[in-house]
Each structure stands twice: as C-alpha cells, then as structure tokens.
Amino acid sequence: MEFSSFHDTFFDEAQELLDDMEALLLGLDVERPDPETVAAIFRAAHSIKGGASTFDFTALQRTTHGLENLLDGVRQGSLALSPASIDLMLEVRDSLLGMLAFHRRGEAPDEGAIARATGLLTDLAATMPAKGGSVETAREDSAQPADTAPHGDDTMRLAVRLQGVDDESAEGICEELGLFGELGEVSVENGVLSATLATQSSIDDISSVLCFVLEPEQISLTPVEPVEPVESIKQAPQASASTAAAREVPRERAAAPARRSEQSSTLRVSTEKIDQILNLVGELVITQATLEQAAASLDTRAHEDLMRGTSLLQRNVRDLQEAVMSVRMLPIDSVFNRFPRLVHDMAGKLGKQVELETRGHDVELDKGLIEGIVDPLTHLVRNSLDHGLELPEQRLAAGKPECGRLLLSAAHQAGNIVIEVADDGAGLNRERILAKARSNGLEINPAMSDEAVWDLIFAPGFSTAVEVTDLSGRGVGMDVVRRNIVGMGGSVSLFSTPGQGTTTRIVLPLTLAILDGMLTEVGKETFILPLSAIAESIQLDPSSLKRLPGGGRVVPIRGDYLPLIELGGLFHVPGAERDLGKAIGVVVEADRTRYVLLVDRLIGQRQVVVKSLETHYRRVPGVAAATILGDGTVALILDLPMLAALQHEGLPGETPPAPVQAISSQPSTVSGVEI
C-alpha cells in the first residue's frame, strides 16, 4: 500500500478535526467552559498530534502539542480562558490548517509558518492566567523564567540519557537542555550523555527539540522521583499514548496508528467514482427504455411475464437512479459551518455585535450546488455584516437591541431549495441606490417600484458602500452573485424594509445533475428547454406578427411585443417547419430576457440527466449541456438566455473567428455533407 494514501487519510481527518475544533471553540463559553467541549477540543488536538508524529510532521506535532498542553490546563481548571485566548486558539487552528496545506503539497511548512505558530502559542499562553488554588503545589522554582514553549504548571525531574553524543555536540545539547530548566550532573561517557533535568516542560517537548540533533532511538528521558502532579501532565486517560510515564522510544508509540475516539460510520468515496456509477445507471435507464420499447410491440397477454419483468425493472432502475443521486447530496450544513467563524472575525473587526442563527442544517443539496453556493453566500453574509447591520450605538439610537441578528436558513419549497440570508439592519437605501444607478448611467425612473430599485443592485459594477472596505466591496458585486446563481439554474431576489433589515432569497434546483426539461422538436432534431425558463406556449397567428426594420419580427402578447427567435433558422436545422401557423411559440423568460422561441412541436415534459459537453468537447454557443434520450441519442439542452444574444450576433460559424489555415475553401454552413 502506498504510504501517501495514509497521508491523504490523515489530511482529510485532520481537516475534519480542525473544522470540529473551530466549531467547538466558537461555541465555548469563556466564563464557564463546558468540560465536555474542552475535552472534545483537546481530543481533536491530540488526534492530530498523534497522526502528525506518525508521519514526522514535526512542526504540526509541536504546535498541536503546545495547544494540547494549554487546553489541558483549562480542562484541569488551572488555566483560565478569555475571549482573547479563544481568538488566539482560532488563529492557532488556522496556522495548523496552513501547515496541513504545506504537507498536502508535499512540502514542509516554511519558517514563517512555524515561527508564526510558535508566536501564537506564546501569545496564547500569555492570555491564559493561571487560576489560583488547584495546582500551585510544585511551583518551587517559580523564579525560573518561563521563556520557552508552553508548558504545564509542574516541575519534574528527568533522567536524561542520550546515546551517540560526542563531546563536541554535548555542549550544544546541554545548552538546549538548559533552556528547558535546571540542568545538573552532566557526564559524557563512551558517547553517552547522562544528566538530570528539573523542568516544567513535558517529555514530548524536550524530545521534539532534541530530535533536531538526534535520532529518537538515541533519546531516553525518564522521570525520576516524580513530584506529585506529574500525573496531571500525563493526563489524558483516553489517550492511548500517555499511559506509560516514560517514553523510551517515542517512535514506537508513533508507529502505532492514531486511534480515533469513535468509529466512523461513513465512507469516503471520490466524486469521480460516484459520477461513474451515475453514468452506468444512466446507461441502464436507456437499456431499460430500449427493452420496454421492444416489449411494447408484443402481445401483452402472451408475454405477461416479460411485461411484469420490464415494469419491475423500470421501477428498480428509477429507485437506483434516485439512490445514486442522493449519494451526491450533502447537507447544507457543510456551507453554513463556515459562517460562525466568518461572522465572529468580521464582527470583531467592524466593532459590531452580531448573533448568527442558522436554520435547516440538514437540507440536502447536490454537491455541485454546494460548491457553487459558497462564494455567493459568503458575499451576502459579508454584505449584511458590513453594510446591513449597524454599529451598536446606531442600533441603540434606532431603538433596536445592541446585538444585530443574522439569519441563515435553508428549506425545501416546491421542488426547490430556498436559501435566505436575512439581517435586521438598516435595510436598503432607496435614494442612495437610485443616485448610484444614475451616476452609473443606468436607466432609472423615480416612480420605480421598490423591487425594481433593489434589482438595480444586481447590475454590473454596482456597490452602494460609500467606500470600499477591507471586508466587502472588493469589486465582486452582486452581479457576480446573480450570475453564479443563475448559472446553477437558480434565481436570487432581495426584500428590504427601511430600518428593519434586508433579506436575500436564493432559489436553487435540488440538483445540477437532473433537469426538468421540455422536449421539443425542430425538423428531426430534438432540443430540450429548461422548464424553469418557460412561461407558456402559444399557437402563433402569422398575421399578427410585426416586422421590424432589419428583419426581426415581434409577437404581440397581451400588450407586449416580444422578439421572435426561430430555432430552426438560428441553428440551420434541415427540414424545419416554415409555416408559422403550424409551429409552436414558446414564451421564454430567462435572466430578465423575454422572447418567443419558435419550435416545430412540443413533445413533452421530461426529467433529463444533465451531461456536460465540455468533458470531451467544448462550450457550444446557445447550448447549456446535453442529455441522453431514451433511445440512446444525444439531445442538446439549450442555453435560453444566450439564444437571445445569438439572434443578434449569429452563430460563430457565420462570422468566422480567427482565420484558420487551409480550410478557408470549405463552405461555412453546416450542411457541407449530407448524411
């Protein structure tokens, strides 16, 4: 087995543990820390340390060890927590994450990262005053400066025995040891250095420093006449490693796999594997459809068994497909999770008080959507904190509680997922938005409805913030938020009441992998229109069409004139219906464009599995994706907003792009060769 595959497991586990640690730290009550929570944080640090030492990730090991020591102090009640120490612990956690990133790339953490972690630990130790009472016993040498890495509160005497040390290096080693405490009775004989050391540092700390000069096998550190509180250093009853007080050979311990406190009932599977299964299931669906088609031509009574079999197969295949799809679903909690930290940090920087509430943790979304929603949501949360919620004094002046509220919620609604970001801040400022829109040259009119005004915010380059701050307004505007969400087949809208707050509502489909589509036909070709963008379908009256200068035509619909796009003409479909009276007009409303799309026939509504064209080919103008129909052929899913643009610009083939070598003699129409 590849050693690196253990690495990956460790990285994934460590990542999870660090995430847990973050959540636990944020939930910790500084005044009265819950012993369970502290113990859980401690265990997370301890597990990471175990793994890190297995793989010789020294810096990671030392940092987690330092953190572990301090956490142990809290657990023992000897050290007190403060809000500052929570912040620092979070930063230590971040630096661990940074080190992990180095190791993931196969590099050792750089000096800067290590120095920063050490600095943080030192700062952290300074924020945690010792509590009087419980463990003051062994502080006999309190004059000893506490200068080095974090340590327990207790002094112990160690018998140090280092093998393979020559006289030259002995001096340096003694110096190093001197930093840990009082060194006495040093002797070097036959390359063996023996000494006693009175220290407050733990054996792990000392040996990890010595490891820079010596191999672990050369090091032996044994406590002698242990002063009573040694037990409390060597705590951690659940930690498998700490049962033996003496660690003759640290690596032996390290070689044992890091034991997890609880057995996990989940299995890590790569997305590729799941998508592969999904593909195979898709094939199965097609095979089943083929079978059913074949069976349909048979006499039902004579082939009753076969009929029963095919209908059972159909049901099983559908269940299987659903089950596989559900594997791709992740709880939205995996997105919401990141916000307590973001809010905590941002509120601190902005001097605001914010209480974050999240609802609907267990609502599940397709993995693709989960990944796609992170950036837009982060942007919205930042916006709410930065521009929405007011400073405490402003809130008080407005008669609101000092502490602002931010609500993140997710819920199922009519086959969609609705995600809301709501704050109880100042709300949107209609006047300021209008003024800004005017200065941006947007089309406005003072009588616009509030909804229309809020909609202006989604225009490119729009920001109402008076000045660009460090935290938001970095040029990534709401237009990007909307584009991302529309790109996932969703929509986004704003609701706001002055003085009471703003709510942003995102509506997303349940999954990216399945689309509710309308199958249509032009000539002999099948096209799929996303159902969400279809308002209605109409029978056209050719005489009611109006021709515009330039050749475009418009269709009058209830007082509006909508442009007409003939799909057959646009895509040069052979054999497309020429008689407008026989064709069907589909009224499309997508991304604020409205038009009538002309097709030959509507075949029906169908759920289709979305397949990317880009995996093996490339993006195609006017085509969002493709799918495979029941008979195994590929059908294109149209990009309806883009069709409107294509209507103006024409397909790229018609206005040839960069001239290509030697093929200029080819006709530029698609029908070069008929099949």
Binding site: N279, L280, G282, E283, E525, L570, F571, H572, V573, K611, S612, L613, E614, T615, H616, Y617, R618, R619, V620, P621, G622, V623, A626, I628, G632, T633, V634, A635, L636, L651, P652, G653, E654, V660, Q661, A662, I663, S665, Q666, P667, T669, V670, G672, V673, I675
Partner: protein
C-alpha cells in the same frame, strides 16, 4: 492482408523502439496512427448535429453515457468523396484525458513499425499542414501516412477544445 510478412525487421536493435500503429483508409490514401491512442472502433450512427461548428465536426454521440465529439477526417482533409456506408467506422481516440471519435472510410490493419522505416514527409500543399505528420512509410506495395493524431486533435484548427483550456505549447507544435 497479412502485414507481418511484408514487414521485415531491418535492424535488430530497432526492435525495441518499434511501435504499433493502426492503419485506416481515407479515400485512396492509407493512414496510420499510434495504436495506444485508440480506445475502440465502432460504427457510424446516432450522431447529434451541433449548429455553428465547422463542417468536419459531425456532432456528438453517446458513448456509454459519455458525450463524445465526432470528427470526420475525410472532410477535414478535403477528400472529394465523403460517403457514409456500412464500412464507414469511427475510431474512438484517447487524446490526453479526452475522448474523440474520428470518422474514417475503413480500418485496415495493425502494424508494427520501427523508426528507421519512417521517411520525412515532404512539404506539400495539401489541406493539412505537414506538422501533423510523423512521416511516411514505404511498404512494398503501398505508402502509409503516419499521422500525429494527438497533435492534430489538440490543434487550434480542429477547434475541439476551448482556447482557454488548451495548453499554450500545443497551439503551434514545437
């Protein structure tokens, strides 16, 4: 046709460098490509046309749940007669991590060729620039054109890959 007998190993030390090629017919010419690029060979059917693509891109097809573009090399190479009959086949190619189908007239043989059998291709004013040719091979009774199929399929003129995705080095060869 039994090719093994027509190909005599010209040098023993070249044996190690021998590569296997799949030969196929495009009109009157016989071409060959590195067989390691070939995934499978299938019939020509069920192709969905895509509007706005160059004529040699016939469209896309469903290859066991994966959507794969189909290129007609005969159109690309400006052959005079392009017919689709029972012998027309699609060679499914693995180019990098992509899969592409190439329409050819007929698949002929698998050949083992050594580098010293390769003759440099002359600069000829055909439909295709010489940079996609590995060389020519003179067999006793006929000539084989060795195609660098990977470079051809990755080239800008095939328009199979979005310009942004394409590695800069592949744009114009070396």
């Amino acid at each position: 046709m039994n090719i093994a007998s027509t190909l005599k190993p010209s040098a023993r030390d070249a044996a190690a460098a021998r590569k296997e090629y799949l030969s196929f017919r495009l009109g009157d010419e016989e071409y060959a490509i590195d067989i390691l690029r070939v995934q499978e060979i299938r019939g020509y059917d069920n192709i969905t046309r895509i509007a706005g693509t160059p004529p040699f891109i016939k469209g896309v097809t469903n290859l066991r749940g994966v959507i794969v573009p189909i290129v007609d090399l005969r159109i690309k190479f400006e052959l005079e007669s392009v017919e689709y009959d029972h012998r027309t086949v699609v060679i499914v190619l693995n180019i990098g991590d992509r899969v592409v189908g190439a329409v050819v007239d007929d698949v002929k043989d698998v050949l083992s060729l050594s580098p010293d059998q390769l003759r440099p291709a002359p600069e000829f004013g055909g439909a295709m620039s010489v940079e996609y040719l590995e060389g020519l091979v003179d067999l006793d009774d006929r000539m084989l054109i060795l195609l660098d199929i990977e470079r051809l399929m990755n080239s800008r003129e095939m328009a199979l890959v979005d310009a942004m995705e394409r590695g800069g080095a592949e744009d114009h060869g070396e």
